[in-house]
């Protein structure tokens, strides 16, 4: 079969192109490592700056608890609360706790306020750190309550510490379960779009595309000859990434695999279509890679992969609807973490289907047109 000859040739070329092999093998490894570990890093010895304006027994106890919790180091003690931001700025602390004057009396009265400043330029560490600290402080409040209940049982219900977290620099706080499934989408996008467009452009550069055009091959055969091999490479990558996500990172899989695979398949089609489109507007391999890069950048930034969409300005939020990765991420995160089904996810699935049809059709049409 003629298609078979095309596919065999494509795999032979793929095997011999070091850049392509490195891309297919390394992209998932790098992304999983970076995103998995940047997100998963256990919080240890996180530097905390403290400004204790209260200087009471209660505030001292709170600071001691923080210092002995195992996650934090009290790295600096500021005398003025205004200095805390400077400490964060200089990187001497990642979290800063301000205990205001009157903390002890208010706490014993049942309600106290402290302020936590977070340097979230490393969002994940900061988020997890802030979360732990939050828990610690709440626990402290609860213990004070318990003591008070014991000493004065008639007292009305508990003292609480109202922790006011103000996040600086980077308003997002994500966790590993949230990040890692997204790698599936990103790997697909990088591998498929790049490999497809590069292999078409490579043939155009060598003149073999024209040579193949004078054979009886039909345009659709030629196109499938380009799409099938890289769909297979992407599938192998996907299977590996999926295994790592489930077995290594132990991301829970709450929903249905069938739904997950359907979403993967639709997203794979959008990537293949994009790759074809890129190949038709690029003359050289460098151009193809630049073009792919310019597609990937907004995909990473605007899809909700790194920053939640609801935190973006409204006009920017509108542009995210044009990014297929956005829908894919929603589906995969919801399926894996929440166990959502078609009932909740049909708008995203419909959007993915529409993008898949649209991009593959546009890619095929312009590929055909470029050939003629």
């Amino acid at each position: 079969m003629r298609l078979q000859a095309l596919i065999r040739k494509e795999f032979r070329q793929f095997r011999r192109d070091r850049r392509m092999v490195v891309m297919a093998v390394m992209a998932p490894i790098i992304q999983l490592t970076l995103l998995g570990y940047a997100a998963d890093l256990d919080v240890q010895d996180l530097p905390v700056a403290v400004c204790d304006d209260d200087r009471s027994a209660e505030s001292a106890r709170l600071v001691a608890e923080i210092a002995h919790a195992g996650y934090f180091v009290v790295s600096a003690e500021a005398t003025r609360s205004a200095d805390l931001v400077a400490l964060l700025d200089r990187g001497e602390a990642q979290l800063a706790l301000h205990i205001p004057y009157g903390f002890q009396s208010r706490l014993r009265a049942g309600e106290a306020t402290v302020q936590l400043l977070v340097d979230a330029s490393d969002a994940n560490t900061a988020g997890i750190g802030a979360g732990y600290l939050n828990g610690l402080i709440a626990e402290h409040g609860a213990r004070v309550l318990a003591r008070r209940v014991r000493s004065a049982p008639a007292e009305r219900s508990g003292p609480e510490i109202d922790l006011r977290t103000r996040v600086l620099y980077n308003p997002t706080l994500e966790s590993v379960y949230y990040m890692v499934p997204g790698v599936l989408g990103l790997v697909l996008l990088v591998i498929t779009t790049n490999l497809t467009s590069l292999s078409v452009v490579k043939e155009r550069e060598a003149g073999t595309l024209e040579q193949v055009m004078v054979t009886p091959l039909r345009p659709w055969e030629l196109m499938l000859g380009k799409l099938v091999p890289f769909a297979l490479v992407a599938t192998a990558d996907m299977a590996t990434v999926m295994a790592v996500i489930l077995l290594w990172f132990r991301v829970p899989m709450q929903g249905s695999y069938a739904l997950l695979f359907a979403a993967l398949f639709l997203f794979l089609l959008t990537c293949l279509g994009t790759g074809l489109l890129v190949s038709t507007v690029s003359r050289t391999q460098q151009q193809a890679q630049m073009t792919t890069f310019f597609i990937m950048l907004p995909s990473m930034l605007l899809s909700g992969f790194m920053y939640p969409i609801h935190n973006m300005p409204e006009w920017l939020q509108l542009t995210t609807y044009a990014i297929p990765l956005r829908y894919f991420l929603t589906v995969i995160r919801s399926v894996m973490l929440k166990g959502s089904g078609v009932g909740e996810l049909w708008p995203e699935l419909a959007a993915l289907l529409a993008f898949a049809v649209l991009l593959v059709a546009a890619g095929a049409a312009s590929f055909r047109k470029r050939l003629q």
Binding site: A5, R16, T208, Q211
Partner: protein, 314 residues
């Protein structure tokens, strides 16, 4: 008589306002080698690309093995072998993998593919290179491999677009011997070139300039079309001699040919040798041997192209 293998009827191809091919008509009988001659940019490649079905004619049509390039390009494609100027091979595939791929694309598989591969590797002296990557091959070997790929499906018609560019003279001659062998077996070949000595290997030539036909005929007939009488003149200094002769109204053309000059004189000069000698001596130049020369295709081309330019409306 069977129908000619290739019939072009009023082929026109325009790119915007530019007319690359301007009403070309010709016929190539089966088994013949047809040379397509012209300088770079004269429309040779565009014509071949139309004949291969890669490019749609703006006007006119052509039939290749009875199939119209306009209406049934896919039927044309099965009948032709095409070799482009750049020897379009997969640089990252080996010699035999390239052959295997092109064979597969033409639907040739299994034992037939193996047999065909061995035949071509043997015939084109590629057997020792079969395991090497195409990227590592010398230009001459790549040229033969490109030809082998174009021949894998035994096409009755072969289109060769400047098949010898960048190849040394020995390899060039061997290449044309191969083409002549194929011709003896009934393969029809259309070959473009701007090298005149290659054109001598063709049965018939078509000279084109700016997309138009300038002349057509056998190499001898085309040469006979050169007007005037050609002399080979040795004189010192040659450049000065050329200037002196060019200034004379009886001289149609002067060109440098190695260290000698080729001078084309009007037919009606009674004693051309004496005419040239007198002129040069009068200018105070040293004159050596003067003899009649046989016009080459190079002269034909220069003369005919100049004529056509003079005729063409600018």
């Amino acid at each position: 008589m069977s129908e000619p293998a290739v019939i072009a009827e009023g082929l026109v191809r325009r790119f915007g306002a530019f007319t690359a091919v301007d009403h070309l008509s010709f016929e190539i009988p089966r088994g013949r080698i047809f040379g397509f001659l012209g300088p770079n940019g004269s429309g040779k490649s565009t014509t071949i690309r139309m004949l291969c079905g890669l490019l749609l004619p703006t006007e006119g049509d052509a039939r290749v093995c009875g199939a119209s390039v306009r209406c049934e390009p896919e039927r044309v494609r099965g009948q032709i072998g095409y070799m482009s100027q750049q020897f379009s091979l997969y640089p990252d595939l080996t010699v035999s993998e390239n052959l295997e791929f092109y064979g597969g694309v033409y639907g040739i598989t299994g034992p037939r593919l193996g047999r065909r591969q061995d035949e071509l590797l043997d015939r084109l002296e590629l057997g020792r290179e079969r395991g090497r990557l195409a990227a590592e091959l010398s230009t001459g070997v790549r040229q033969r491999l490109a030809l082998a790929c174009a021949l894998i499906h035994e096409p009755p018609v072969l289109f060769l677009d400047e098949p010898t560019s960048g190849v040394d003279p020995g390899a060039r001659r061997r290449f044309f011997e191969l083409i002549q062998d194929l011709s003896a077996q009934g393969v029809t070949t259309l070959v473009t070139t701007h090298v005149m000595d290659e054109a001598e290997h063709c049965n018939r030539l078509l000279l084109i300039h700016r997309g138009r036909r300038v002349a057509e005929g056998s190499p001898a007939a085309v040469k006979a079309l050169v007007p005037g009488r050609l002399m080979q003149v040795r004189a010192e200094p040659a450049m000065r001699a050329a200037d002196v002769l060019e200034a004379a109204p009886e001289v149609l053309e002067v060109s440098l040919f190695g260290t000698a000059l080729h001078v084309r004189l009007r037919e009606d000069i009674p004693e051309p040798d004496a005419f040239v000698r007198t002129r040069l001596l009068a200018a105070g130049l040293e004159v050596g041997q003067i003899e009649a020369a046989r016009p080459t295709l190079e002269h034909a081309f220069l003369a005919l192209a100049a004529d056509s330019e003079a005729e063409a409306p600018s």
